[in-house]
Amino acid sequence: MTGAHISPPLLARYAAGGSGPADLWWAVEAHLETCGECRDRLGEAVTRHSPATAALVETVRVALADRLPQPATRPARHRRLARWAAPAMLPRLAATGLVVLAALGLDLADSTGRFPSLVLLLAPVVPLLPVAAAWSRGLDPAYELVIASPRAGLELVLRRTAAALLVVIPMLAGAGVLAGASPARWLLPCLAFTAGALALGELVGLYRAATALALGWAAVVVAPSLVRARVPVLLEPAVWPGWAAAVVVVGLVMVLRRRAYAGLASAR
């Protein structure tokens, strides 16, 4: 019986308990033992041609169901989320939402329109808040377990960063629409700062790198722009090639140094 399967009429006769030469049924059963496809078809044939057998099987199943060991429960869907957003990042993401709301509130309260939008000024460094928590001993209780695991490395850092950006960027976009800060101005700086923190983080620790970049941006760009009440040159749409180049260069550095991320902990 190379490649042959039981023909439907024969299977129907077998399912209905029909009569025939005994060696024919032996052959059928021998084939059924090795062929999952025919067993599936037999199941259908039994329900179609022999309701009595089907009912019997069902009774047995119901009677046994309570006594059989329950299969282990599958992880809840929200726990699978932990593979992307580290559990320690969730409070940080909430805090980030508050920062964006506060900036938006100040923007809307500024009726004179004299000052540049705070949402725009802060947008490039806002993602650093949750990204810093992606890899931090102080914020992640299971940090020591994570850094000793084989998955620790660039891939895990990037997963967590992607999760943070997926939440933060729509938040910023929403606030930007209300405050008149177009993503064309802040999206590339946003990515450049995030990538910069990851690249610098490999040398000095992600938390330290993110803090340094955010403070630097606040001191060099945000404060002077507020004092002079002017949108900084760095956030004009015209400078986007510069930011794009920064993203590419920093991305390349990360790819070249990717192996070092497994030792992110000892690099601090």
């Binding site: 282990a72 429960t73 992880p75 809840a76 299971a142 377990l145 695991s149 998955r151 902990a265 000892s266």
Partner: protein, 265 residues
């Protein structure tokens, strides 16, 4: 086309010891917490004893590849790990319970272990089985779906041990595993250690001399970052003589530390 097989793929994977260290130095901050350590550990349970600040935790963290050695060589399961950046393969074969074991309060025991199994890159189809087995081995079957924040300290410690063995490690590193366990659980834990000892290199850092005397096949005594003594628990007890301490093992411990410190001055 037939793929060429490089010489690095045909190297036999046999190795004499699960852990081999030569003149190993490891820094904890600026201090040299492990200073010129010579070590060779095979299968079995190795008790790592020493006073506070002797370098036990630092050594365990270096063996877990969390700290990079500052000098010397360290070979784990036949792979050199000092100065190496790609630790993925060797980390899959290590289980590690840190001294300060953090956990996520809202996770249930099972969810937490599944997350750790994912971090340890177990194949997805093996995860439910491996997690259930770890839970059963550590005696938490009836609490498997309870949230971690509702468990007692001793139970959380056992969850920590469960996550360390969930990937069936060949090298198991436990830092103060019996802290917070009651006497009965401690007995169960020792039984588990003896069971694991057959095909695993277990390193248990502890300050409880009695744990070592009861469950370990081998004792390592560490002081000021150096190996003071390596031998069986019986050897440790013999070293004691008439010094202070409540049990022969404790007397041996105190005597060896005293002798080592006297020798350094």
């Amino acid at each position: 086309m037939v793929r060429a097989i490089g010489p690095d793929e045909t190297i036999p994977t046999r190795y004499g010891y699960a852990v081999e260290a030569e003149r190993l130095t490891v820094r904890a901050g600026r201090r040299l917490a492990v200073d010129g350590l010579e070590l060779a550990l095979g299968y079995g349970v190795h008790g790592l004893l020493g006073p506070n600040g002797a370098g036990k935790t630092t050594l365990i963290r270096a063996l877990a590849t969390v700290l990079r050695p500052a000098g010397g060589s360290l070979t784990l399961l036949g792979e050199r790990v000092d100065g190496r950046l790609d630790l993925r393969a060797v980390r899959r074969r290590i289980g590690y319970l840190p001294q300060e074991f953090g956990y996520y309060r809202r996770f249930t025991v099972r969810e937490f272990l599944e997350y750790l199994a994912w971090l340890k890159e177990l194949p997805a189809q093996d995860v439910p089985g491996a997690v259930q087995r770890a839970i059963d081995r550590i005696g938490l079957s009836d609490r498997a779906d309870h949230k971690l924040r509702t468990l007692s300290g001793g139970m959380r410690r056992r969850v920590g041990i469960a996550q360390a063995i969930v990937n069936d490690p060949e090298l198991l590193l436990l830092d103060e595993p019996t802290a917070g366990l009651d006497p009965d659980q401690r007995l169960q834990f020792r039984a588990l250690l003896r069971e694991l000892a057959a095909d695993t290199c277990v390193v248990v850092a502890t300050h409880l001399v009695e744990d070592v005397a009861a469950a370990c096949t081998d004792v390592l005594l560490l002081d000021e970052g150096q190996l003071v003594f390596q031998g069986t628990p019986a050897d440790l007890a013999d070293a004691g003589g008439e010094g202070e301490g409540d049990s022969p093992a404790e007397r041996g411990y105190a005597e060896l530390i005293r002798r080592h410190r006297a020798g350094r001055r």
